[in-house]
């Protein structure tokens, strides 16, 4: 589904609650009323076209308006990616870690596999933090030095848990961990398209 300026934002968010953390990055908070997307953007002093392009790119895996994204000023895109990094640091990573901690602690008979999963996520987090740090020092979109991409590391972790998890564990906490990993994987994957196909070529061209 594509969102347009005249659509009621609350209706779109009701249908796709995964948009909540994305609009939060623009400073938009819930209590959206019956305002349209363009009215909300005026209220928050945002570029409607940019918000819609980011939201539509996030919602639709096949949708990538390359020319339109290239038309926005680089600083607008860098600001969005910085806010995305902040969201990972403040919300998504702590959420997953909190669930992982209880996932390990609440395993009925001290299942050693669960600690291995937590350790793997710890290594992934170090790589993500290194990229965020590199973004700060380079003032833009850095390219990770390692051979494995962040979203591939998360996809592998998800598959390993779903396909190869053995022994006793808490079903509910396991689902919470997988849900968190899946959300982070999707977020990184969708934003990497902007990072690598829009921002990185701009930086290489010195624009």
């Amino acid at each position: 589904m594509l969102l347009f300026p005249d659509m009621i934002m609350s209706e779109a968010v009701e249908t796709y609650p995964s948009l909540i953390p994305v609009i939060n990055r623009f400073g938009i908070r819930l209590g959206l009323g019956n305002r349209s997307v363009s009215e909300i953007c005026s209220l928050y002093n945002l570029d409607t076209d940019f918000l819609l392009t980011v939201v539509n790119t996030f919602l639709n895996e096949e949708y990538f308006p390359e020319k339109k994204l290239q038309s926005f000023h680089t600083s607008l895109i860098i600001d969005y990616l910085n806010k995305t990094n902040e969201y990972y640091l403040r919300n998504l990573l702590p959420n997953i870690e909190r669930h992982l901690k209880f996932f390990v602690l609440h395993s009925p008979e001290g299942n050693p596999t669960l600690q291995l999963i937590a350790d793997y996520f710890g290594s992934f987090k170090s790589e993500l933090l290194a990229r965020i740090e590199s973004d700060k020092t380079q003032g833009g979109a850095s390219i990770p030095a390692g051979e494995d991409s962040l979203e591939e590391l998360l996809a592998d972790l998800k598959r390993l848990i779903i396909t190869h998890l053995a022994g006793n564990y808490d079903d509910n906490l396991c689902y919470a961990v997988i849900f968190g990993i899946h959300s982070l994987e999707k977020d990184i994957k969708q934003n990497n398209r902007i990072r690598y196909r829009i921002l990185h070529p701009c930086e290489e061209a010195g624009t």
Binding site: Y120, D156, H164, L165
Partner: protein, 163 residues
């Protein structure tokens, strides 16, 4: 709802290409996994489709008994029944591809060496095989396990006592 839509909607990541004529299909160079054709097209081009009979399904409009070498799909049935028939057709095809998901002894050796942090060149030296063979083993391991990264393969080895 058309057959192409059903296939793409309910059996992702499968994708469909439709042809107006057999000639258009013959001109296309894509390596197709499966052919869905009507009875007339089958009869006119028997040579082509019989050679590909394990990958061909004939669309018919009644519940016919299959005396044919190919699978039959009754497209006048309900949508639910058509989806079940498509599932059976595609599942039988998948089974042939999934012959062996178990790692071979050599692949397990390569996996252990990856998990211990060895590079591809280290692995080639230790096992006295070429770099090309190591890469081929890695490709097979990834294909069988569905795990792409070295970190993921290491976790798999740890979880399965292969370390």
């Amino acid at each position: 709802m058309g057959l192409a839509h059903l296939l793409e909607e309910y059996f992702p990541p499968l994708s469909v290409i439709c042809f107006d004529s057999f000639e258009a299909l013959a001109r296309n160079t894509t390596a197709f996994d499966y052919f869905f054709i009507d009875g007339d097209a089958f009869l006119i081009n028997t040579d082509f489709f019989l050679q590909r009979r394990t990958r061909t399904a004939i669309l018919c409009s009644a519940n016919l008994l299959s005396a044919s070498a190919c699978r039959l799909i009754n497209v006048s049935a309900s949508q639910e029944t058509i989806i079940e028939q498509l599932h059976e057709t595609l599942a039988s095809e998948t089974l042939r591809d999934d012959d062996n998901k178990e790692l071979s002894i050599r692949e397990r050796e390569v996996l252990q060496l990856i998990a211990r942090g060895n590079t591809n060149k280290d692995i080639a030296d230790v096992l006295h095989i070429s770099l090309h063979t190591v890469l081929s083993h890695r490709k097979n391991i990834t294909s069988k396990l569905g795990i792409k990264t070295a970190s993921g393969l290491t976790l798999y080895a740890l979880m399965n006592g292969l370390f």
